[in-house]
């Protein structure tokens, strides 16, 4: 298949940037979206041009690096999928595909399609952990955990920190990400002792990073490659409310 690609090119953080149009010829529909870009980049390098910079690492949907806004959708048109897991067969021959970086004040563009997501790291550092003594791991069965809690915590822990929720939210809100991180710990007994300070600190850091406010539009849940549920946001709101009332 042959495609027209409109790709955002930006030399560095201070460059204004612009779209550049490329023709991708003889693209196999069995390629992943990233492989399609790899082939294009080889051509660019052969011509002596700068290849298109984009983030990627695992290429199996678990690292969360492959951020790209494809035809107006985070990670492209297929729900529950990262860009590396998206196949070219999801596109039509002759189609024009617009590729942009995540757009958010808290995710500044570094180069082309690569954005700086260290704001997420700082949110995690503000409270996304539990404090435990080192030594032998406890016996797994010594802490009974209700099946539903274990399942919900596990589902929340599936978040890969990709930032698609922020990218797709009309308000650039990071609530789905932060709530997944708050939930995975708040649901388990090991996370309870620090639950109140955790939620307050993580939300404070989130606001300081310049993410927008959640207005419950639901785009994040629809675009999340790990299908993290809005219920986590409600849980975080609840945790936040109780923690604030308790004056933790």
């Amino acid at each position: 298949m042959n495609l027209t690609l409109k790709v955002w090119r930006q030399k560095n953080a201070s460059d204004k940037g612009a779209f550049v149009t490329y023709n991708a010829k003889n693209v196999s529909e069995d390629m992943s979206f990233l492989e399609m870009l790899d082939v294009l980049n080889e051509e660019l390098v052969e011509k002596g041009d700068q290849p298109i910079a984009f983030d990627h690492d695992c290429r199996e949907g678990i690292c969360g690096m492959c951020s790209m806004y494809i035809n107006g959708r985070a990670h492209g048109p297929q729900n529950g999928t990262t860009t590396c897991q998206l196949h070219m067969r999801k596109f039509k021959d002759g189609e024009t595909i617009t590729i942009e970086p995540w757009r958010a004040a808290a995710f500044p563009v570094i180069k082309d399609l690569v954005v700086d997501r260290s704001s997420f790291d700082r949110i995690i550092a503000a409270g996304g952990f539990i404090s435990v003594n080192t030594g032998n791991a406890q016996d797994a069965n010594s802490l009974p955990i209700a099946k539903k809690d274990a399942d919900d915590a596990f589902a929340a822990a599936a978040c890969i920190g990709c930032g698609a929720c922020v990218a797709s939210c009309k308000n650039s809100s990071a609530m789905l990400f932060v709530s997944a991180k708050v939930s995975q710990l708040a649901l388990l007994p090991q996370g309870r002792p620090e639950a109140a300070t955790r939620v307050l600190n993580m939300v404070k850091q989130m606001d300081e990073e310049g993410f927008g406010n959640c207005t419950n539009t639901g785009s994040c849940e629809a675009e999340c490659p790990k299908e993290i549920s809005l219920e986590n946001i409600a849980r975080m709101n609840r945790e936040f409310l109780f923690a604030s009332l308790a004056g933790a």
Binding site: S168, T217, A222, E231
Partner: protein, 214 residues
């Protein structure tokens, strides 16, 4: 936002009920009496202050929310598929809210100001409050604005009701779909209920018992 919004909804329930008294067919007696007793109830006077405070707080929060959110994405997308992942109602709360605010101002100016502040309507004046209501709604411009506003209110609540529960942390797989349905139901109820006033009074010439058409 959520608490003020939910409070405003409880007010609307009460407001709809007293308004419907205008169709009692008793020349506006029940409606006038209800208005009269509300003015003279200490409880209602207190609630009224809370209500004004709630509207101001709701609008103030809406403004700062909208301003902060606009700042959170300085560079917009060239192609945005946000309409594929969220519904129109949820994305346009600021717009529908602003239209409601505009209507509230006009609405207060029509009834609250003459009845409660200048005293040009009501006890001992040319028109009773019920007649004032009917008179205003026979005006095509006002009837039209009223109808459009209650439809927009329906849009606001179609998202707002369930959104408020999500905001206060109440969301689970069983109840959320029901709350969404309830929100849409409430939106329809308010739109049809309040919409009945301009439609019946302007289009179908209701309430001649209150103010005969000459």
């Amino acid at each position: 936002m959520a608490l003020t919004g939910l409070f405003l909804i409880t007010f609307l329930v009460e407001h709809l009920y007293t308004n419907l008294l205008i169709f009692a067919g008793d020349g506006g007696l029940a409606f006038n009496e209800a208005s009269h007793s509300m003015v003279h109830s200490i409880f209602i006077r207190v609630v009224e202050i809370v209500l004004f405070a709630a509207i101001i707080l709701h609008v103030f929060q809406a403004l700062s929310l909208t301003r902060e959110n606009a700042k959170a994405r300085p560079v917009k997308y060239a192609v945005s598929g946000v309409n594929q992942t969220s519904d129109w109602f949820s994305r346009n709360m600021g717009l529908t809210g602003s239209l409601i605010l505009f209507f509230i101002v006009v609405h207060l100016n029509n009834y609250f100001v003459p009845y409660r502040i200048t005293g040009t309507v009501g006890d001992g004046q040319e028109y009773s409050i019920a007649q004032c209501v009917v008179l205003a709604l026979r005006h095509p411009g006002y009837a039209g604005l009223y109808l459009v506003s209650v439809i927009v209110l329906g849009f606001h609540l179609n998202h707002g009701f369930q959104s408020a529960f999500q905001s206060i942390g109440f969301n689970n797989k069983t109840y959320m779909p029901l709350l969404k349905l309830a929100g849409t139901g409430l939106a329809i109820l308010f739109t049809v209920g309040f919409g009945a006033f301009p439609v019946l009074i302007f289009l179908f010439k209701f309430c001649q018992d209150i103010l005969p058409l000459n």
